[in-house]
């Protein structure tokens, strides 16, 4: 239901075409679209307003590069700005302290603290740390048991605690236990709490004081709406947070909460929780999250990819050939197919297209490069002469090619039909040169994103 920003902007920026610069006047409407897009992605309103200001400042006066349309130019500004706000590097944990280095988790109910404790423990264990975990959640039924089970799963030490104990006492005892066991890291899980529950906020402040943790991580659900800003502010006021962990990013929420929390707390997002298994903890990449919030897939990096990986020499040769009015033959088609595989194949391309991430896995798994590989095999089974002069391929030659490539004559026919279409297209671009061809390719790929289904 959410259009991606590129589509959203295309109408409003159309009238910018031909203008050399972005001005406050001509981007006003486009910025309104950016605002709506950010709000739909659940970026908190105050943060949206601040961002729009920053984007305006950066966009106004920008020259629209010849290679980009005005819309693309503006999107690039928006994306760069979001990336900048979200921090430039993915920060990891700072555990340089006298062992045990204590990590304290905080967040609302159901944000995913306990699961994240297990994931962090696994992550650290994989990095050769000795990790112990403890639960100071004496409120939620079976919370302690949940952490116990998870600790066993990931092989972390578990400091037992009981609902009858005070959280601060549990924490202190756990530090002693970790010291005794010579653990490198102690991760302290806490109960979920509403940020306006003063008694509970006082409790976590007391916990923080007692533990003096090197890392105080705020765990936030990526599906959170406007409230992310309020909650983050309250937690940041109560606790000296050192970082943020964004959970449930394997859903299809656009994750505007990431931006709100980052902007409000000024703390880096250190990890993403992206699945139910203990190893589903990913480092955070600001640029990818910016792209996701804008809902535009990775179109820009796709364009970069196309530009980088297209073999420039071959492309130039083909362009020269087509320009001279020579025929596009099956050798050229094979080159193109090879290049497609070079770029990571269809699946790789698909991943970068907007809207594809929301396709069910079933559809995604149907997209593979078998078809492309089969086409290459068919061309490979032809003689050199046949490749140069596809008209030679009569019935019996086609049957031979099918046998040679292990396919059916129908497959060969389909390939030849696709070839004829491509040849026609190439003829059209004879005067447009390679630039026109590239633009067309980009357009065709975007169109594919809209349909969502790859050609069969």
């Amino acid at each position: 239901m959410f259009d991606n920003l590129t589509q959203r902007l295309s109408a409003t920026v159309q009238r910018l075409t031909g203008r050399g610069r972005l001005t406050e006047e001509n981007i006003r409407e486009a910025l309104r679209e950016v605002r709506v897009a950010l709000l739909e992605a659940d970026v908190a309103l105050p943060v949206v307003q601040a961002l729009i200001e920053r984007i305006k400042v950066r966009a106004v006066g920008q020259e629209v590069l010849k290679s980009l349309t005005p819309g693309q130019a503006l999107i690039k500004v928006v994306r760069d700005e979001l990336t900048a706000v979200m921090g430039t590097q993915n920060a990891s944990l700072h555990l340089a302290a006298t062992p045990p280095a204590v990590v304290l988790m905080a967040g609302l109910q159901g944000a995913g603290k306990t699961t994240t404790v297990a994931k962090l423990a696994k992550h650290l264990i994989d990095h050769k740390k000795k990790v112990m975990v403890v639960s100071a959640d004496v409120y939620r039924p079976a919370a302690i048991e949940q952490l116990h089970t998870l600790a066993q799963q990931v092989g972390a030490g578990f400091v037992p605690s009981h609902v009858g104990e005070k959280p601060v006492a549990i924490a202190k005892a756990a530090v002693d236990a970790a010291r005794r066991e010579v653990a490198d890291v102690l991760i302290v899980d806490t109960a979920g709490r509403t940020s306006i529950d003063e008694a509970m906020m006082a409790e976590i402040k007391a916990l923080h004081e007692a533990l003096d943790p090197v890392e105080t991580l705020f765990v936030v659900d990526s599906m959170t709406g406007q409230d992310a800003a309020n909650t983050a502010r309250h937690f940041a006021d109560a606790l000296p947070l050192t970082g943020v962990i964004l959970t449930k990013v394997d859903g299809d929420a656009r994750g505007g909460a990431a931006l709100s929390v980052r902007y409000i707390t000024g703390r880096p997002i250190k990890f993403l929780g992206a699945g139910e298994k203990p190893d589903a903890l990913e480092p955070f990449h600001p640029d990818r999250m910016a792209t996701r919030i804008l809902g535009m897939g990775d179109v820009l990096s796709l364009i970069e990819d196309v530009q980088q990986k297209t073999d420039a020499d071959k492309a130039a040769k083909l362009a020269a050939k087509v320009a001279k009015g020579k025929r596009f033959d099956l050798n050229d088609m094979k080159d193109q197919l090879d290049q497609m595989l070079n770029m990571g194949g269809l699946a790789g391309l698909m991943e970068k297209l907007p809207g594809v991430s929301s396709l069910p896995d079933k559809v995604k798994s149907q997209v593979n490069d078998k078809e492309v590989q089969r086409m290459i095999a068919i061309i490979g089974s032809m003689t050199k002469k046949e490749r140069r002069h596809p008209d030679l391929l009569n019935g019996s030659r086609r049957a031979r090619v099918a046998r040679g490539s292990g396919t059916q004559p129908a497959d060969v026919n389909r390939l030849l039909k696709q070839y004829t279409q491509m040849e026609k297209m190439m003829g059209k671009f004879a005067r447009g040169g390679m630039k026109g061809l590239m633009r067309q390719m980009g357009g065709a790929m975007k169109g594919m994103g809209g349909r969502g289904m790859p050609p069969r």
């Binding site: 239901m1 709506v36 709000l39 739909e40 992605a41 659940d42 908190a44 309103l45 105050p46 601040a50 609302l108 109910q109 159901g110 944000a111 995913g112 004496v138 409120y139 939620r140 039924p141 079976a142 919370a143 048991e145 949940q146 952490l147 116990h148 089970t149 799963q153 609902v163 009858g164 104990e165 959280p167 006492a169 509403t194 940020s195 306006i196 529950d197 003063e198 008694a199 409790e203 659900d221 599906m223 959170t224 709406g225 406007q226 409230d227 992310a228 309020n230 909650t231 502010r233 006021d237 449930k248 394997d250 859903g251 299809d252 929420a253 656009r254 505007g256 929301s358 069910p360 896995d361």
Partner: protein, 370 residues
């Protein structure tokens, strides 16, 4: 920006929400003073917060009787950022202007009402304001109120577990929305309505989910049917229904594992639960209650859509409305799906699950008189 944060920072802190026991009647008068929450860890605190399983519900009732009344839900919600924003907006008795509408729009957007639902409400007000339909800001406020009530009233349909025996209630939702807690509260509610309840521990995936439900069962003295972690969820729920049937239970509430709506494999599992239940009772489950986290933003719409596709949701429960988020998402959901909203969760205690009432909900957010 800064002014907004100052406003937030200077707001009157709400009275501490006591996690301790409370009276059992739903609309108790507001106590002038609410005692501070007991120090966690003191014996009294534990006796009340986690009654011994052995003592069962009697213990719960005994401690509850000694407690103070707690606030009605109008009081709770009117403390929210949303309500405060709206109230302060109108308290100034501003002139009718586009600026007023802009401020109103900002307030709605900040409450997660959503871009589309907000635009619809505001555009309508703007059109009518320009036709000079409103005499003053108060009239405009009344118009907004009635529009919002009109959105919510049709979906405020309470759940009636009568008529069927056993009434099969399947609780679904994404991870961490409060399914198990909601089930505990629901079981207590049904119990008070003198219904015989059975719980089915269908969340066989998450660590200690079964134990969590058993703890609730122990507290309330409600039997829990379980097979432990890693068992097949559909099989647990099937067994539970057989058991509920055999023991003549009135209501069977089945827990399920939290699943993100984008995981098609897990969503198919839900369809299986329905298929398997259909073998015992063609109409089961009689209610598929989807739990929504009240702090969720616009993604709630995607969630509900996917769950409707997978298992056919018949009702919603919105939880965690006791924080700073105040459920504007409810408007977006009502507009998009018109699914009945059965319950709202306004706190952590068992009686904090309330029947959803459009007027009470709105009264808290946007009181009728200034």
């Amino acid at each position: 920006m800064p002014s907004l944060w100052n406003k937030l920072a200077n707001r009157k802190p709400p009275p501490p929400v006591d996690r301790g026991p409370a009276p059992l009647d739903d609309e108790a008068p507001v106590a002038p003073s609410i005692p501070a929450r007991q120090e966690p860890g003191s014996p009294g605190w534990h006796a009340s917060a986690l009654p011994n399983i052995a003592n069962g519900p009697d213990d719960l009732l005994a401690t509850a009787a000694a407690a103070v009344p707690r606030r009605g839900w109008r009081e709770r919600l009117s403390d929210s950022g949303f309500a405060r924003g709206l109230s302060s907006l109108f308290a100034r008795n501003p002139v009718l202007s586009d600026e007023l509408l802009d401020e109103l729009e900002i307030t709605l957007l900040s409450a997660d009402v959503g871009v589309n639902a907000t635009a619809e409400l505001i555009d309508d007000l703007r059109r009518r304001m320009h036709k000079r339909e409103f005499a003053d800001a108060a009239a405009l406020r009344e118009a907004l109120r009635s529009r919002m009530v009109a959105l919510l009233e049709p979906v405020a349909q309470p759940l009636d577990p009568g008529g069927r025996k056993p009434f099969v209630l399947l609780v679904v939702g994404v991870n961490g929305v409060g399914k198990t807690t909601t089930i505990g509260k629901l079981a207590r509610r049904f119990q008070q309505e003198k219904r015989d309840v059975l719980l089915a521990a269908g969340d066989t995936f998450r660590a200690a989910a079964v134990a969590q439900l058993q703890e609730w069962g122990g507290r309330l003295g409600v039997p829990v049917c379980s097979q432990g972690q890693g068992a097949d969820s559909a099989s647990v729920i099937f067994d539970a229904l057989q058991m509920a049937d055999a023991h003549g239970k009135d209501v069977m509430i089945a827990d399920t594992a939290g699943r993100l709506h984008t995981r098609s494999g897990l969503m198919d599992e839900l369809a299986k639960v329905r298929r398997v239940l259909g073998k015992l009772d063609a109409e089961a489950p009689h209610e598929v209650l989807m739990v929504i986290d009240g702090t969720t933003g616009q993604n709630a719409i995607n969630q509900v859509r996917q769950f409707i596709d997978a298992i056919g949701v018949t009702g919603l429960a919105v939880t965690k409305l006791d924080g700073t988020a105040k459920g504007g998402v409810v408007f977006a959901l009502a507009r998009e799906f018109a699914l009945p909203i059965r319950y709202v969760g306004l706190g952590e205690r068992a009686e904090d699950l309330r029947t959803f009432e459009a007027r009470a909900f709105l009264d808290g957010l946007l009181p009728a008189s200034a």
